[in-house]
């Protein structure tokens, strides 16, 4: 199927690319203008992350998924999400989002008690209270701090200067980071990750099929997604 003049409804522009003016929402700055001083490192790290995910993390998660039923894995995932409450509430407050902050608090109170330490989500089920994820990178973005330049983090994937820095204060709000034994803390973090991946097996491969250039694809998707999160 060929595009038989899809823009026939509008008056043709003088140039040969008639109709583009109507869709100027995509007129963003070109890649050439994106400041990406670390692009060499970023590409290498993207390849590393890709292999780490496909060869280590996902196979591990898929073995784990064979042993642990999905219901249990969902509960584990909810448990860790519940622990993310301090990060979310503080960043909601910093962005003066009163109602979301209050809802997060009710969610935490209900799910920690009636939801048995967060294993279940009665706050959503019974009261329709949804989570309102916010992090420090978003808080900075909210107050006009730009992303800086792209940085691909080991294992974590695409990020940028602002959001990578934002991980530090958020880390201080995450209970797991307060465990005395570093090995235990790292072990728990890896487990959380494996559990999370086990609920999304195959999705990364599926997504990757749409990439002509994986680094650019992920970098761009990350920025678009963050822009939306910050806007909301």
């Amino acid at each position: 199927m060929l595009p038989d003049s899809p823009d026939g409804t509008t008056e043709p522009a003088p140039e040969s690319f008639d109709g583009f003016g109507e869709f100027d929402e995509f007129a963003e700055k070109k890649d050439a203008e994106i400041f990406d001083p670390l692009s060499g490192y970023n590409r290498a790290m993207t390849t590393f992350n890709d292999k780490a995910y496909l060869w280590v993390l996902e196979p591990t998660a898929s073995g784990y998924a064979m042993v642990i039923p999905v219901v249990a894995r969902r509960s584990v995932n909810r448990f860790f999400r519940n622990l993310g409450y301090p990060v979310r509430v503080v960043n909601n407050v910093l962005q003066l989002k009163g109602r979301p902050a209050a809802e997060e608090t009710f969610r935490f109170l209900i799910n920690t008690t009636a939801g048995i330490a967060g294993l279940f989500d009665p706050a959503q089920k019974w009261f329709g209270l949804e989570a309102h994820p916010e992090d420090f990178g978003q808080t900075l973005g909210r107050y006009g701090v730009g992303g800086g330049f792209p940085i691909v983090l080991p294992f974590l994937g695409p990020s940028n200067l602002r959001d990578a820095i934002g991980l530090i204060p958020d880390g201080y709000l995450y209970p797991i980071d307060y465990l005395d034994n570093t090995y235990v803390a790292v072990g728990i973090t890896v487990y959380e990750r494996i559990n999370f991946i086990s609920l999304r097996l195959g999705e990364y491969e599926e997504l990757k099929k749409d990439a002509l250039d994986l680094y650019i694809f992920l970098r761009d998707a990350y920025e678009q997604n963050r822009k939306k999160e910050i806007r909301e």
């Binding site: 199927m1 060929l2 595009p3 038989d4 899809p6 823009d7 026939g8 409804t9 140039e15 040969s16 690319f17 109709g19 583009f20 109507e22 869709f23 929402e25 995509f26 007129a27 963003e28 070109k30 890649d31 050439a32 590409r43 390849t47 992350n49 890709d50 969902r74 995932n77 974590l156 994937g157 695409p158 990020s159 959001d163 999370f196 609920l199 999304r200 195959g202 999705e203 990364y204 491969e205 599926e206 997504l207 990757k208 099929k209 749409d210 990439a211 002509l212 250039d213 994986l214 680094y215 650019i216 694809f217 992920l218 761009d220 998707a221 990350y222 678009q224 997604n225 963050r226 939306k228």
Partner: protein, 212 residues
């Protein structure tokens, strides 16, 4: 930080359309598109119809044909390809290159789209909510929320008024626009190589590719 994973997961694009909710049981009436001021009923009728097809026992190839018949009139793949190339790059292509480009771009979109269907047709827990349409100039954007057990996906279907009624020219998944994503990548390829390189890239089978 779960953003990599959230972006990845959440960006599972058109496929999310096919998370089959149990609630919809009604059939595939084609809303009279032209007359509608709001493409939302059209979108809903199409999604419902696609979900119905997925629930049948037809062989996959047949499902695919039926679904194509439903969505081809409302998805303007050609315009998506043109927009993905952008006003700066589009004039660089000869008439013949444009044809080949669009052809391959459409093949690629469709291949990716149907791969995702087959992956998602098993999911029957998702709830689909249609939000109020937003008018953006002469275009209308319809936000759709797909809530599944493990993640919620916010989609936006972007419609414009074509000669044959409302048509989709872009789909956004959690803020990630398909057209924008392809445009960034096309710019990258064209910054380093020629139009023919780009067309060759598109010809490659849709499969994992290295970053460099």
């Amino acid at each position: 930080m779960r953003h990599l994973v959230s972006v990845l997961i959440l960006s599972l694009f058109l496929g999310c359309l096919f998370l089959a909710p149990p609630a919809f049981a009604q059939s595939a009436g084609d809303a009279p598109a032209q007359a509608q001021m709001d493409p939302k009923p059209l979108l809903k009728s199409k999604i419902d119809a696609v979900l119905d097809i997925l629930k049948t026992d037809m062989p996959d190839a047949e499902k695919r044909r039926e679904i194509e018949k439903l969505i081809d009139p409302v998805l303007n793949y050609g315009l998506m390809g043109k927009l993905a190339l952008g006003p700066e790059n589009w004039p660089k292509l000869s008439e013949q290159q444009r044809q080949v480009f669009i052809e391959r771009f459409v093949d690629r979109l469709k291949a990716s789209y149907f791969d995702k269907i087959s992956m998602y047709q098993g999911n029957s827990e998702a709830r689909i909510t249609y939000k109020d349409s937003r008018t953006e100039g002469n275009k209308v954007h319809v936000p759709v929320v797909v809530a599944a057990a493990d993640s919620t996906v916010n989609m936006v279907y972007k419609f414009f008024q074509s000669d044959s009624g409302w048509q989709v020219y872009d789909v956004e998944i959690n803020g990630v626009s398909i057209v924008q994503s392809y445009r960034s990548q096309f710019n990258q390829v064209l910054a380093r190589g020629s139009v023919d390189d780009l067309i060759n890239e598109l010809k490659k089978p849709v499969e994992p590719k290295k970053t460099q």
